[in-house]
Amino acid sequence: MNLTSRSERVSGRIFLIALVVVTLLPFLSMLSAALQPRGTVPTGLAWPSDPQWSNFADAFTAANMGALLKSSMLIVAGVVPIGVLIATMAGFGLGHLRVPGGHIAFGLLLLGLTLPFEAVVTPLYYQMRDLGLLNTRWAIILPLIGLYMPFAVFWMRAHFTNVPAELSEAARVDGSNTWQLFWRIHVPLARPAIASLTILLFLWTWNQFLLAIVMVDDATKRTMAGALGAFQGQWGTDLVLLCAGSLLILTPTLIVFLIFQRQFIKALLQGSVKG
């Protein structure tokens, strides 16, 4: 394809590189501030003559990182497996078994696809209070599973709609029931769709902020994003520590992202196309 002229391609490259630089600059600026001596007033981007890597250790203690990691993982462990499982089952029921009246259930779910969390957070708060679950991780876990259902079921249904019915019929001749059919044939086939959904739900849960600050006062029982909000409230005036802590809190996500980078990008692209 030699259609694009040389100058066009060069200017395109330049644009792309500029975009990459602009994307990275805030992170670099944070890093440079995080390495300044404590108690100084840092400026935008200046490499310190004597980088204070120990600031990260201070921030680790100040942010109580160990407890935060554990809390976030507990919440993810509560939301993601159950969310993925019941969404896959529902997608199977609606897309493959085609239950009678399934389109009504599906329409009901579509209603929630564009729903801003802010619209339901107030009654959710009172609901959780009445259940006695405020200030526990359940107050984040349970609503999140429900709130993710529209997208998750939509996603899994789209997969199961495209699975040919003959596949199940052949297995039925062998005498397997629907449950066996689901686990032996359909779940393995749906693995790519399930993997993408798992990644998206993990990311959204880890980064969930609104529910975390509404439902739970104790930062060590929140999601990572919620904890970061509390950290800013507490250390907002100590810029060096704030930057070090924020970078630290970002690291787990970044590591997971870099490891599963291809899957993440695929999931995010597909996720936005469907959502």
Partner: protein
């Protein structure tokens, strides 16, 4: 696709086009035993129960609350549509709703326009290590919590931050200011954070769409003597309609329902200069104990999102053959 009842969908069976999921699609006639069909509801039930209890019930309650004056503790007082009247007449609340629409310019239009520019120049991102690096970096803002983006940019836009440092370096000392703290610049400054978050996603979506366009279309356009600009409007823009629709949908929802970034970077200030509906709902419900008014604003926000997103969907999907 639905006409081939019972037979294997031919050809694009595994294609995951969003258009393939049509809610109005009739349930396929089943050739197997009837009783299994109703039992199938058991598969859907767990998801529906969670959705019903944690989304539909609160949603119904929001609508109910919105018709009362209630402080969250004492008895509630029926006020009919008074809360909605307040939402649409109160100066501050109208300003807050307008703020969300201003953010759409920064969250949606700028990323889509810049993304289109890059896409039409680059055409494709190489599959080599350089391309992977570009993709990875451009996706970073999508992966980190919005809270982190808010903290990073509060620092970048502060008095001693990077933006002012760069301005000073080129001799524009007079322009420097605490961007998030001044009345005139606070809202656009918050918007810039949104642009930063959305730009990478839009660019990659659009470039990916771009690489799927048949090169012969461009060849034909060149043969007809079309310049780059005619080419853009005749070939690129129509071919990318679906991708543009996706970008707009995602970013418009993010703008209207924004909360995290604003809460972290400005808390809605100075004054109510950067307050958005999401933040105001939070404040009304949990600090000012005006649960009814907060709920009415919640209902309005939900409807605003629908009113903005449905036409975009229609535009990009409805006319597809």
């Amino acid at each position: 696709m639905t006409s081939a009842l019972g037979s294997v969908p031919a050809g694009p069976g595994t294609a995951t086009r969003p258009g393939g999921a049509d809610p109005a699609r009739p349930a396929r006639r089943n050739r197997r035993g009837r009783p299994t069909r109703w039992i199938g509801w058991l598969w859907v039930l767990p998801a529906l129960l969670m959705y019903g209890f944690f989304v539909l019930r609160p949603l119904a309650l929001t609508v109910q609350y919105s018709l009362y004056r209630w402080n969250g503790i004492g008895p509630a007082q029926w006020v009919g549509f008074d809360n909605y009247l307040t939402v649409f007449t109160d100066r501050d609340l109208l300003k807050i709703i307008t703020n969300a629409f201003v953010l759409i310019i920064f969250f949606s239009f700028i990323p889509v326009v810049l993304g289109l520019l890059v896409a039409s120049l680059v055409r494709r991102i190489t599959t080599g290590p350089g391309g992977t690096l570009v993709r990875t970096v451009l996706f970073l803002p999508q992966v980190i919590p919005l809270v982190a983006a808010g903290i990073a940019w509060s620092w970048v836009l502060s008095s001693n931050g990077l933006v002012n440092q760069l301005l000073r370096a080129v001799g524009l000392d007079r322009v420097t200011r605490p961007w998030l703290g001044e009345f005139s610049t606070a809202l656009p400054a918050v918007g810039v954070i949104g642009t930063w978050i959305m730009l990478g996603l839009c660019t990659i979506l659009l470039v990916t769409g771009m690489s799927k366009i048949d090169p012969s279309l461009y060849e034909a356009a060149r043969m007809d003597g079309a310049g780059p600009i005619r080419e853009f409007f005749a070939v690129t823009l129509p071919s990318l309609r679906q991708e543009i629709g996706v970008c707009l949908t995602v970013t418009v929802i993010a703008a209207l329902a924004s909360f995290d970034i604003v809460y972290i970077s400005t808390s809605g200030g100075p004054g109510i200069q950067t307050t958005v509906p999401g933040l105001e709902i939070y404040r009304l419900a949990f600090s000012q104990r005006q649960v009814g008014l907060a709920s009415a604003l919640g209902v309005v926000l939900m409807l605003l999102v629908l009113v903005c997103v449905l036409p975009i969907q229609r535009l990009t999907r409805g006319e597809k053959p």
